[in-house]
Symmetry: C2
Amino acid sequence: MADSLRIGIAGLGTVGSSLVRILQQRSKELAITCGRAIEIIAVSARDRSRDRGLDLAGITWFDTPEEMAKKAEIDVLVELVGGASGAAEKAVRAALSRGIHVVTANKALLAKHGVELAIMAEEKGALLNFEAAVAGGIPIIKALRESLTGNHVSRIYGIMNGTCNYILTKMEKEGLSFEACLKEAQRLGYAEADPAFDIEGNDTAHKLAILTTLAFGSKIAADDIYLEGISNISIEDIQAAADLGYRIKLLGVAHVTESGIEQRVHPTMVPLDSVIAQVDGVTNAVAVESDILGELLMVGPGAGGNATASAVLGDIADIAKSRPGVQQVPVLGRPAKSLTEYRRAKMKSHEGGYFIRLTVKDKAGVFASIATRMAENNISLESIVQHSRVHTEGGPQTIILVTHATMEDAIRKAVKAIKSEKYLVNEPQVIRIERT
Amino acid sequence: MADSLRIGIAGLGTVGSSLVRILQQRSKELAITCGRAIEIIAVSARDRSRDRGLDLAGITWFDTPEEMAKKAEIDVLVELVGGASGAAEKAVRAALSRGIHVVTANKALLAKHGVELAIMAEEKGALLNFEAAVAGGIPIIKALRESLTGNHVSRIYGIMNGTCNYILTKMEKEGLSFEACLKEAQRLGYAEADPAFDIEGNDTAHKLAILTTLAFGSKIAADDIYLEGISNISIEDIQAAADLGYRIKLLGVAHVTESGIEQRVHPTMVPLDSVIAQVDGVTNAVAVESDILGELLMVGPGAGGNATASAVLGDIADIAKSRPGVQQVPVLGRPAKSLTEYRRAKMKSHEGGYFIRLTVKDKAGVFASIATRMAENNISLESIVQHSRVHTEGGPQTIILVTHATMEDAIRKAVKAIKSEKYLVNEPQVIRIERT
């Protein structure tokens, strides 16, 4: 049997602790499967005195991840610290500069420094694995950078934030408001005390940026993503969606168009009978459309200590199964220096169906006016209906429009024209429809 | 850049021709992605004179795959001939004995000789990749043998035969009989002229046997699979399933129980609102339940020249990205010599819910008799209803039973007792319900 693979783990939170436990409890079978033992020889975490219920006897403790990455005699640095910069970045750079392989679950770090780190890794002959950084336990990174080699991807989309999907599912199933469901998510630990990063779509955007690069071979462009969160989705939207045969999901979508790559994160109507519409609660799902394979969809746990640890373990095992320094899977699917510049498609040019919900004063001519504004912008309507569930005689009236495929620009102009008409009671709601 | 990877392709049918085209058209980008060129230097197919629309200039033609495997200066043999024995087997053995890597789409070969071939490959330091052998373009082999390393799998199940899923989908959507839908499948090329291998479940069983080994680390036991096809599924079953909130799918299921491993292929009721129930037409889906990751589901094209070629290409690219002879991913998830003996769980001990459809004479006491037979066998009923859709006064009556989780043995005894009562008009239909 070959020499053991010596790893150092930075970060002993939920994922790190779970990983230590699994590596210790299953050391014998992992040694058989991988052809050599995986040995934790170093750890680093913030609080040395905290009782994590872990047996760390014989493992060298380092006060900072960077120190561990610089000094420990490790083959692999497992970075579970998190954060786009700071301790995590320093440790990863230190490891790669020594030619030490890195396994990380850190989406923020990759979204910000991924290309640079990939170049470093490839120059030093080190591997940089990050399956856990996107959609937790779903092996989407492996699928994109290995299984789909040779394919031209045209679109990738998915539910990549469990918090949002939990809230949207609960709103629909129990008829509760966004605020009530967010509170419940916080109570259950599915949402942070400050939930903005999740519910405004930033978390999804980080993940999408990484997938976009793997799918299209362009440099990571996490700041070029169109972003809309779910905080203004109302129970009325969800019910109207259901009536029309749709369900609302927060999707991250990256799509190749003639004018560049669209990257967008927004609430999206998907057909009720599509597979992705059935993905409930904190579960994640990612779909990839490519020209040779066709459409591939993966569904699984997107977060949680164990699911994330499973992805990290898979990355470590991949290194253990190769002899050190010889496998050459390019970090970002192709050699990092061959990545192309990201060419952003303008959101105004996005083409698709739209759902528009208007709350209007109950008076003659409103219907006609709305239809006229749409026609003036060459928007072809699939339907325009007064939504009966919420109408009371004389009170504000809800009108729901569904358009055929049209340009975002036209929608914005039509909505602006309608707003200038003064019969709107409140802000119009516009939700994009995605073919799935 | 490293030396090119020289491959020989045996079999130039749909998949082989598609693969040749892709490798030629995308040779430049593949060379960049993989870090070296992939070069087809040899081919072998049955009919040399047939025009396949391929440019084979400069490629050495061999009259048999075996000769190619023995004589060509190749790094990888791509075996697309098919069949459990014969030319495919000879070629693969010849290649492995020379230490040449093998990529194959041949499920029958692996189901029969997989363990032996894996031992050969590992002894010779050759890779044996077979992503295309199960569920076409879905990267389930990679997920099981790489991503899920360290996990204990408890159950794996899936829709692995597009022909059956197409027929069942069409029966439900159009209310047509099994025979009519089979004919349509044959017309569209989704079913063979002799469809038995698909519709009786054998094809699914081959795939399941391979997945079982990867999931549970036991030797391949393709002959130990309980088999029931879809040919006696009627439109009445499908409609009754829908009324009860279920859909019928042909599933292959492998499940660890206390008494061993259950491997079974049979028509199965899955909840209508489950993700797998939405998998329509020729699409495949495979779900894996494991203790660290949780539940993972993959959905994608299970057949077709391009989707299969995509999986083959992924396998070739994996070899191209490693330096030859150094990667050590065990062929069957762990070193083949460490695989355990397969311990078969008796089908009689299977535990689950059951759907039972009885066509009975319309006379007093039948309901009571059926309920009594169930009670005598300690079968707890979720429901027992006369099925109104098909009842005409005085004519034969349909009774549908749905049981709570119970033992197969008890169901068999109860059904036998009911059959002895003489009020049945025809054979009882029994369909297992699977939790998904």
